[in-house]
Symmetry: C2
């Protein structure tokens, strides 16, 4: 059934989420107007990488920024630098942090850093979680938005309070901002205003921005200098990173002005899901371009319903479902360029059909 759900999704003419297929066209489009004579970066030096790093540092309001092949590498390194500086190897983050569940314990295996889990899996970290945490924490990592619970956010006031508390206690604060640009329309703040609350910041270049891969780590001069040494140790100081840099720059320019549009689309789409029988979104009201959809059916049943809806309407909702319990399953929706291409009447029809099928 899951296979036919994937097949049904792949055959649809329209898709609710994302920017489009991750295929070679993503690279070809980014490079089509780039001069062939433009020289490669070379082990972290050269105009192509330095210009982009300076642009990202300015965006994030930090002294310096460095391009990394991945966020996994960038964030482990950030936490390691803060641990070394503080003199103890313990950090605190959410139980569903990317570092805790998607990185094969690199932080622990490579850096011997212990982790303390704040809050619980169902909610974001609040001020009280930070105030009540054990002693000897070198750095707190906050992920904004908290992806694995549908992309939830604390209020900006809570963020500010956590930042003040950490500064007061000399605890470093690191931002996992994989989707930082995506939350700015909700906070109604600039990237630099959010980043000012943090000692170091990571952003991803292939989520809302939709580049090929890559990440930026930003902070003060001394922090970034150390991060470059660790980047080499990790094997991330490649002779040429330009395929990622050129594409990141291209899609940043194209899509950073559209984050408000994606946010509005997410709110509209979540309302449509919530109007259907047996369907709800997490959060109910999105605070970024993403949310999770919960179908209150067993996974096999929901897969069957969604395959039918997608076949009948030509609208791609999801290619997969994750089981939550015997009676509930979910998928993630991230709004991108494709939603704007969807005719309004097609969307309305798709949700009418979904509502009907969910009732059966």
């Amino acid at each position: 059934m899951t296979e036919s759900l994937t097949a049904a999704y792949n055959q649809t003419k329209y898709k609710l989420g994302n920017h489009g297929k991750r295929d070679i066209r993503v690279l070809k489009e980014a490079f089509q107007d780039i001069e062939g004579q433009l020289e490669s970066d070379r082990y972290g030096t050269g105009k192509i990488i330095e210009d982009f790093q300076a642009k990202m540092a300015a965006l994030l309001g930090k002294e310096h920024a460095v391009f990394f092949p991945s966020g996994t590498m960038a964030q482990q390194i950030a936490l390691r630098i803060w641990c070394d500086e503080q003199g103890f190897r313990k950090v605190a983050y959410h139980p569903l942090s990317h570092l805790e569940i998607h990185e094969e314990d690199g932080l622990k295996e490579l850096h011997r850093i212990k982790t303390v889990l704040l809050a619980d899996k169902s909610r974001v970290i609040g001020l009280e979680d930070v105030v009540n945490m054990e002693e000897g924490i070198a750095c707190v990592l906050l992920e904004l938005p908290q992806r694995e619970i549908g992309g939830q956010l604390p209020s900006f006031e809570t963020l500010w309070q956590i930042s003040e508390y950490c500064r007061d206690k000399a605890i470093k604060l690191h931002l996992d901002g994989a989707r930082l640009l995506e939350i700015l329309p909700f906070y109604q703040r600039s990237a630099a205003e959010v980043c000012a609350l943090f000692d170091s910041v990571y952003i991803s270049l292939y989520k809302g921005i939709g580049g090929i891969a890559g990440a930026i780590l930003a902070g003060d001069q001394a922090f970034i200098a150390k991060s470059k040494v660790w980047k080499r140790r990790h094997g991330g100081d490649l002779i040429s990173l330009y395929p990622y840099i050129v594409s990141a720059d291209y899609y940043y320019n194209l899509r950073s002005p559209k984050m408000g549009q994606y946010f509005e689309a997410a709110k509209e789409l979540a309302a449509l899901f919530n109007s259907c029988h047996g369907v709800s979104t997490l959060p109910l009201m999105p605070v970024s371009n993403m949310f999770h959809v919960h179908f209150h059916l067993a996974k096999e049943q929901a897969a069957s319903v969604l395959a039918e809806v997608q076949q009948a309407t030509g609208v791609g909702i999801t290619s997969y479902l994750t089981e939550i319990d015997e009676h509930t399953c979910s998928c993630e929706i991230s709004l991108g360029d494709l939603y704007a291409e969807l005719p309004r009447e097609v969307v309305i029809k798709a949700f009418r059909v979904l509502d009907e099928k969910m009732k059966q």
Copy 2:
């Protein structure tokens, strides 16, 4: 003076070494005939990465191969896996190994692996170095050719003896084959025949092959499965590695048949250098596409001579010099596609001018 040497080199019409500039054309050429619909790899899966890995495993005669963003990452991981399997964290390699001098001690800092240096800086590792090494070595790493001493090689018989000895003593043997394809014409062996002497093998995809970046690590099924876990821990399991994979495959197809041509060119060119007053190559007779050139002059003087020769003849010899002592400096030459574009009479004239200027 060094700046004017670089400037003089950059202005020459011809170059002795390399394949050409590392600019965006390298990417554009590799992608020009690739269909836009071809799907990206995705976190190490998908046809684009799996096909190339299978091709490289077959080339190297190993069960499996995995694509890595860098050799730094691939080799640290190989040594870590063997250390874990053997139960002790100590490896042996040459004092000028890439891991010892170019990786900011990643092996020690990230993996807490101790290193024992074999042979001395002036020569390659021989059987007696391995036989006489201390106890408790999990793995010996051999770099073929030994780049930092001009690309020297042990005889194939010595390699075979070291391999037999290590197998007998249950010591793992890893090949740093950054330039493996480049030595096959000298050994008159297939890649698989050389790799059969080793438990694990790394090759680079941007040296003689001339791709954008990237590396292959090959070995048995269990070894490669573990390497993928470590690849994720290091932050090397990118969502998309295809910019490197597509270019590696393209330039592998283009240049792997030309390794014999590069080797012949290296021998011819080394003879020309050795015919000049105050110039010698290391090794005297190259065993791959590379060698070092020693100029028996102070670095400033040699830079001045070489800038003049390059300006006068339009032939690019080198853009830099490394000081060896007060009376000697050196550069590295790696033969690639460009040498074949050089008219014979231009080469001869360049070396006549070099010889004359070195006599003054």
